[in-house]
């Protein structure tokens, strides 16, 4: 599905900025400890974080056997509760990319690289809203050098 190039990055980028800061608020308030697997991380995102900030709990499915691709299935998307259908001429808008950006920004702050995209969207006629998270190879923890 093609989207106007200038629109797609914008929401994701805004979401990324939100996510990098939101993660500290989340960690400060939820007292979750270190996770030991990608599925644990995805469960916490779905059951603790989404619940805390959006009041919904998406269900989690794992999409591949190497256990690094997951989907969050949202039966209710609070961001679009009052949207019946996308305005004419804007049918390619995917402003819920904000959520994908937030998740990606938050994961990056805890040193986890991930690709987060919308796989299905109710607004576009799919049956459910589905966010896909693909964990990429963990970045080596760089030894940070003091800036002189």
């Amino acid at each position: 599905m093609s989207r106007p190039a200038h629109r797609r990055p914008a929401y994701h980028k805004i979401g990324y900025g939100i996510g990098t800061r939101l993660v500290e608020d989340f960690l400060a308030r939820s007292c979750v400890g270190r996770c030991h697997s990608y599925s644990e991380i995805t469960d916490i995102i779905a059951q603790v974080a989404f619940k805390m900030y959006l009041g919904i709990t998406p269900s989690v499915t794992c999409n591949n056997s190497s256990r690094n691709e997951f989907s969050l299935i949202l039966d209710k998307n609070p961001l679009v509760e009052f949207v019946e259908e996308l305005p004419a001429g804007r049918s390619s808008l995917c402003y819920c990319n904000l959520l994908c950006g937030i998740i990606r920004g938050a994961l990056e702050m805890v040193h986890l690289a991930a690709d987060v995209t919308f796989l299905q969207d109710r607004l576009k006629g799919d049956s459910v809203t589905e966010i896909g998270i693909t964990f990429l190879k963990k970045r080596e923890e760089k030894k940070y050098r003091r800036k002189k």
Binding site: E24, A28, C31, R146
Partner: protein, 169 residues
């Protein structure tokens, strides 16, 4: 004041916030950094500072405990250690809380002051509320947010009142 200083260190190791409450006993203000600039040696079964001077910790100061273990505990963050959480000396206790994102909150307090762990968590909340939600604050930069200062001082007062008579943490 029983809490001498609060420091916030970012991921790269730069000091982004500092709050000092001076009192006659607070000679030993220590900046938290690794590797330590002090040379420690074993003398008479105590670990003493043999060489090096850092912000008030001078030659002759004794290290009482690290992370709650006696002076023979590991100092190095390598080999499975997660870094200093608490450093005890005869004049102060240094507490450090490292978040999963790499920010470190360091508090220097009187050794008898209790409730520092919950104070560190509270400082983390204050940081996320008043520094991160400030749109003019850039991540990893020095914190210059008035609300952060005010709320931090408030939290320190509350912690001091609550903790002075409790058991040492």
């Amino acid at each position: 004041m029983a809490i001498f200083s609060v420091y916030v260190v970012n991921k790269a190791g730069d000091l982004i916030y500092q709050l000092d409450s001076y009192s006659p006993r607070a000679e030993a203000e220590k900046t938290f950094s690794y590797p330590l600039d002090l040379l420690l040696k074993l003398h008479d079964e105590r670990v003493l500072v043999a060489f090096g001077q850092r912000d008030g910790i001078r030659v002759g100061h004794a290290v009482l405990a690290i992370n709650g273990m006696d002076g023979n505990g590991k100092l190095s963050p390598e080999q499975g250690s997660s870094g200093i959480e608490m450093l005890e000396t005869d004049t102060f206790k240094l507490h450090c809380y490292q978040t999963l994102t790499g920010i470190k909150f360091v508090v220097l307090a009187d050794p008898r002051q209790a409730g520092i762990d919950s104070l560190l968590r509270k400082i983390y909340e204050i940081y996320s509320d008043f520094a991160l939600k400030n749109p003019f604050y850039s991540l990893e930069m020095p914190i210059r947010c008035e609300l952060f200062d005010q709320n931090l001082k408030l939290a320190l007062e509350v912690a001091e009142k609550a903790g002075t008579f409790g058991p040492g943490s």
